[in-house]
Amino acid sequence: MFEIFASLGEALALIGGADPALAGIVVLSLELSLAAAVAGAAIGLPLGALIAVGRFPGRRTLIVTLNALLGLPSVVVGLVVYLLLSRAGPLGSLGILFTPAAIVVAQTLLVAPIVAALARQVAEDAWREYEEQLTSLGVSRLRAVPTILWDARFSLLTVVLAGFGRAASEVGAVMIVGGNIDGVTRVMTTAIALETSKGDLPLALALGAILILVVLAVNAGVFAIREWSARRHG
């Protein structure tokens, strides 16, 4: 018990002192997770809305597949990306294994299905409200996709946030494709895992505290945006 408090004290000192190594890890984590959230949203939002609004053969299969992908074991994603990017793999010539880019690729693969599945739900609700009116105005289903995405933008912000959270909290896949190389691909989650196993609890705790704070701050920001938009746009 005492050890936890002692570690906590040291952790606060690390945060308060803006330890450069710590700061580097935090910044890298945020950059990569943000990139993955943006890439995942770029894939997942249109895909989700297209499935919600569109009527095409194989739609049901796609929905089931997408929902199944929500439970995608991240270690398997890590393994597959590793195989693809490894020197002998089909994308080995890119030479990005054990670089931050590889981490973003793995995270994006984890984020995109989540964003797509949640966006489909949001878009379907919006489409139920809009379908008759938009059809009456002469809007095709394909043309309705960007309209729905823009009109549900504030709800979809929460969806993208869920994707960001998924990316930021990922350990397994990031460890496999990034390699947890100090100063290059070491992010908050892999650092916590490593420092804990080494017994450096203050650093692990400090990172854990920052991770939680970041997630809280982002959530609060999105909540404020939604409140504001509800008042302004109805």
Partner: protein, 238 residues
């Protein structure tokens, strides 16, 4: 004056099955240019389904909806619903969107959108987010949006059913002025006073069939079918 087709739109023996019941049962109606038509009938008689089928939102199970041509193209049409659905953008942008979807490029788009807003007296609210406007303002915006598409035929499905008397009067004024400019008005209502004020002719629907089509001034005095006279007796003391 351009040569016009003898009719704008026609339903020929149209049946629509919805959820196992026949919402329209071999309904026929030919709409020529000219008078303002109000479709009356009890709840569930098929008024809204008839309008939606003519408009093209519902595909007939049997029969056809044919559009006459005006200057060699099908007549343009638009529809206003009981509850307008506005996009999360400004009042002006809502009209701009409808124009953009229908292929109207800038700078005409902005000009026509602004003109449409002015037409219904909403210029002052152009920049206001459409979804926070009052019910009456939203319905006038829906009328402006429909009008901006320059429809030859305008369908209105109980356009004032959710509005207070003041807003209803405003909306009626706008509808009457559209009609005066030559837009063919086809609307449903439950408000018989409104039907008297706006209708040139009444189309009466009973159990999915068009049972009567009579000039409005005659209809309210001497309806041509027993269903219609029962309907009027039941509906007048509202």
């Amino acid at each position: 004056m351009a040569e016009r087709a003898s009719f704008l739109v026609e339903a020929r023996g149209v049946s629509v099955a919805l959820g196992g019941t026949l919402a329209l049962d071999r309904a026929s109606l030919r709409l020529e240019p000219g008078p303002r038509t109000v479709v009356l009938g009890a709840n569930g008689a098929g008024k809204s389904v008839l309008l939606r089928t003519l408009h093209g939102l519902i595909a007939p199970t049997a029969g056809v909806v044919a559009w006459g041509d005006v200057d060699g193209r099908p007549a343009r049409q638009a529809m206003v619903f009981q509850r307008p659905v506005m996009l999360r953008r400004s009042a002006l942008a809502n009209i701009g969107y409808a124009l953009a979807v229908n292929g109207v490029a800038e700078p005409q788009r902005s000009r026509r959108a602004a003109a449409a807003l002015a037409r219904v007296g909403l210029t002052a609210l152009a920049g206001r987010p459409a979804r926070v406007l009052s019910g009456g303002e939203q319905q006038r915006l829906a009328l402006a949006r429909a009008w901006s598409l320059e429809p030859e035929v305008l369908f209105l499905d109980e356009p004032t059913a959710s509005l207070d008397p003041g807003a209803t009067a405003e909306v009626e004024r706008v509808i009457a002025s559209f009609a005066a400019e030559g837009t063919r008005i086809v609307m449903t209502t439950h408000n018989l006073g409104q039907a008297r004020r706006l209708a040139d002719e009444i189309v009466f629907i009973h159990a999915g069939r068009v049972t009567e089509r009579t000039a409005a001034d005659r209809f309210f005095v001497q309806p041509g079918s027993t269903e219609a006279s029962l309907f009027l007796q039941g509906e007048i003391p509202w």
